[in-house]
Amino acid sequence: MSWIRRVTNVFRPERLSRDIQREMDFHLEERTDDLVAAGASPESARREAVRRLGHSTTQRERARDMDIAAALDAFVSDVRYAFRALSRTPGYTIVAVLSLALGIGANTAIFSVVDAVMLRSLPVRNPEQLARILLGGADALTNPMWEQLRDAQSAFGQALAFGQHGFSVTTAGESRPLDGDWVSGDYFRVLGVGAAVGRAIDRADDWRGCPAIAMLSYAYWQSDFGGRPDVIGRSLVLDSHPFQVVGVAAEGFDGVEVGAPSRVFVPLCAEAVSRGKGSSLDRRSTWWLTLIARPAAGTTLAQLNARLATLSPRVLAAAAPQSLTAARQKEFLAMQFKAEPAPTGTSSVRTHYGHALYVLLGAVGLVLLIACVNVANLLLARAAAREHELAIRSALGAGRSRLVRQLLTESAVLAALGALLGLVLARLTTSALAALLASIGRRVTLVVHLDGRILAFTLGITLLTGLLFGLAPAWRSALVNPRASLTSNPRQMSGGQSRFTAAKLLVAAQVALLLPLLVGAGLMMATLRNLTRLDPGFQADGVVLMAVDAQHAQTLAKSRRASAYEDILARIRALPGVSSASASDITPIGTSSWNDFVAVDGYSPRSLDDSLANFNEISSDYFGTIRTRVLLGRDFSPGDRLGAPPAVIVNEALVRKFFRGQNPIGRVLRVGETTASAPPMQVVGVVEDAKYGSLRDPAPPTAYIALAQDSAADTGFNFEIRTTGGVNGIRAAALAAVHQVNSSLDVSFSSFEDQVSRSLGVERLLARLSTIFGALALGLAMIGLYGVMSYNVVRRRGEIGIRLALGASRAGVRRLVMRDVARVVLLGLAIGFVAVLYASRALKSAVYGLAPNDPVTIAVAIVALVSVAAIAGYLPARRASRGDPMLALRQE
């Protein structure tokens, strides 16, 4: 068990040194005695004894050369040697380190976002136990359902509910938006999150008619209250109502929804305080709560689901919306609650960006592989150049493992340098990446930082890459046959005779990895182009959107809202610079949608969902303002008033589906859950299909009803204003117009074009980043190709010199080198092409308007790759053909 002794030697170097010293002393004494006995003087005998033994310190050191400290020493000297070797070839080192830094940096940056969005568990007790409760696949539930489940939770464990809400917080007379959650009384107890200051909301706070209290998130407490403990007991004005602050949640906890941190937590029951009569607590068809369960200890997901299934009929019967028809009632009651694991919380960001993030992670993985191949190639070239040196060392008795260790140390040093620089790059880009995610599409706030997990990831990929690019060249070098290397002149060795050297195979591999990346980038760009160029059925440019919120306008009765909106519209239309304006409940490609059941004589739906159509409520001239063409019949007119027969305008898709493509003008449409008793609406017009919620989805069957005929218009309404001056040109005048009608209406402005463009956030993200990564990979691969070809040309200088001397033309020499380039690139393309056919399936849901294996995109990628490769290969070829043959030959 010699290694035990080696280990113990490390811990007792002092004793070991002393032992050795004593042994040496003994030896010297014995030798001196013998020499004196043979007739020498004591002094000369002593000198001779020392001379024979050698210097005692070196002796001691040589004897100690077998312990681990010495092994560490050897490692340190290996590292030092590696640094010296690398600094001798700065160009090579810079290319290698930069390649790795870009690869590792890109991976770390993307991974940190993936981690923040997809992987990180919630900072709560035992997050792996949490399960989300869904009903028929829907993730939002009603409060009556929650109350039923809450009272029955002993059957399956513990449960909590929360509803996200955009509060408005008023400080010093100014209102600002503040994201928060309505939380059930057990919320903090079930999650196992405590209070940093004060107390957490508990069960005793959540009862009908409860007082208005609030809890702050730690981050909000720090940012807006300076972390002062006297915030407890103070009053916070939320949605115009005072809420007493009772506590601050534990540090790091921002609610369960990832990507939208909650700043404030308010008991569910206080929703009635804020919304008054509009409260959703007793509404059976307002779906606004997320339910999370923590099953009893030892309960599996299957058991939890079985218990939920048993509970479902009773809960649903007690919470079924009253207005359902008998058939729909039956369908509703047949649904079942289901649980799915939710250790990482919930996230709409995850739903929207998840796929895109994994695609990007795949892309940066390819970039890193290409970078690795580059470094492997550089190492191979170096190893070949050092063959002579290695052969000498091998001949002098250096073991194979010793040589491999030396080369691997060099790889490790390269990888470490690359990782360090990569981390710096990642640190610089993650915040930009999070900002990019936040700026496009939905409002996203991500906590992205480089913590232990990210560093572990980076360390992992660094080790992996170090091994990947280091092992092959190291092994190959160690297999060097010293005799063959030593007997031949290093300059005469020409590896060019074999068609595919290891280096060329590696470049072919790079090309094979590169093609899918380029095709992917091409597909993403084409998708974005298709989506931005398609005709959505409206023209968003030149339209300003004004959102008006009547939630805080207490004096405005529900029945008078429609006329107030019409009043505002009339004032807006009169403003200078406004060519046309309209009002609508929903704006296209916005965040809200509205659908309802429709019934048309002669159409029998296959199922409930088959009778769904999308809706919008609009003023007159809506179609004129957003430029959707009216194909048949008419737009709404002043005649469509309350009291007049209800009119409806439908789009082509609705005509195709519900009217079987026949002219629907004058026919009747009934709307609502209980369509039998619903008033008939007469179709007065048909408009062209316009995209509704997303540019990707085809326009759904859509019905438009008249604002002027609504006796209970929505609290939130939108105005479309076609004007040349943009948001800033109209803001002040429009705001004044709104406040002339009612000064307590909240107003916000945006550009219609921005709204449409923001909906392409994921596409833009993918197109931009995949293009950047594709360009990066292309650059890296071409550096690789250029490097290998240049090196080859140098190695074949003698051969090329002879060819030129024997009368080969310079063009012929160029062709010779280019043929090599072509062979390598073609091999790579062939493999890459097969890879594309398989891998592009992963992009099936991401592409729009073309197939994932779109031949044009693939062809363009191939042409781009080949032309850049031709340039990268031509430079060395030209250099080869320009060389003076005599010069090349004389050097031999």
């Binding site: 004593r22 042994e23 040496m24 003994f26 040589r62 077998m66």
Partner: protein, 111 residues
């Protein structure tokens, strides 16, 4: 576990030391040098500078065991003795030495 080494000199020294310890039992380093010198009729002289590193390496490989003791002259010395692993190593090294010399002999005779 027997090992083979590339380094002939070092391997030979180990073989000689192991053989001495096998033949004479417990010995200290100085006695080993003198014994090799004497038995080889002064033909072989141990490079004293490499003896102690070799002994320590052999100790770490578990071929020999070392302990402090007192010589006849009443001096403190480190005594070495063979372990069972050392016995096996000796057998292996003797065999490979035999093969080497036989090979060299044949070459010298027939080449």
């Amino acid at each position: 576990m027997p090992r083979t080494r590339n380094d002939i000199l070092q391997g030979t020294l180990a073989l000689l030391v192991l053989k001495c310890l096998d033949a004479r039992g417990r010995m200290h380093g100085y006695a080993i040098t003198s014994h090799i010198q004497r038995v080889s009729a002064e033909l072989l002289r141990v490079e004293e500078g490499s003896l102690y590193p070799a002994l320590h390496r052999m100790e770490q490989d578990g071929w020999v065991r070392a302990s402090w003791g007192t010589t006849e002259k009443n001096r403190q010395a480190r005594f070495y003795e063979l372990t069972p692993a050392g016995q096996r190593q000796l057998a292996a090294e003797q065999e490979s030495w035999g093969r080497l010399t036989e090979g060299v002999r044949r070459v010298l005779r027939y080449a």
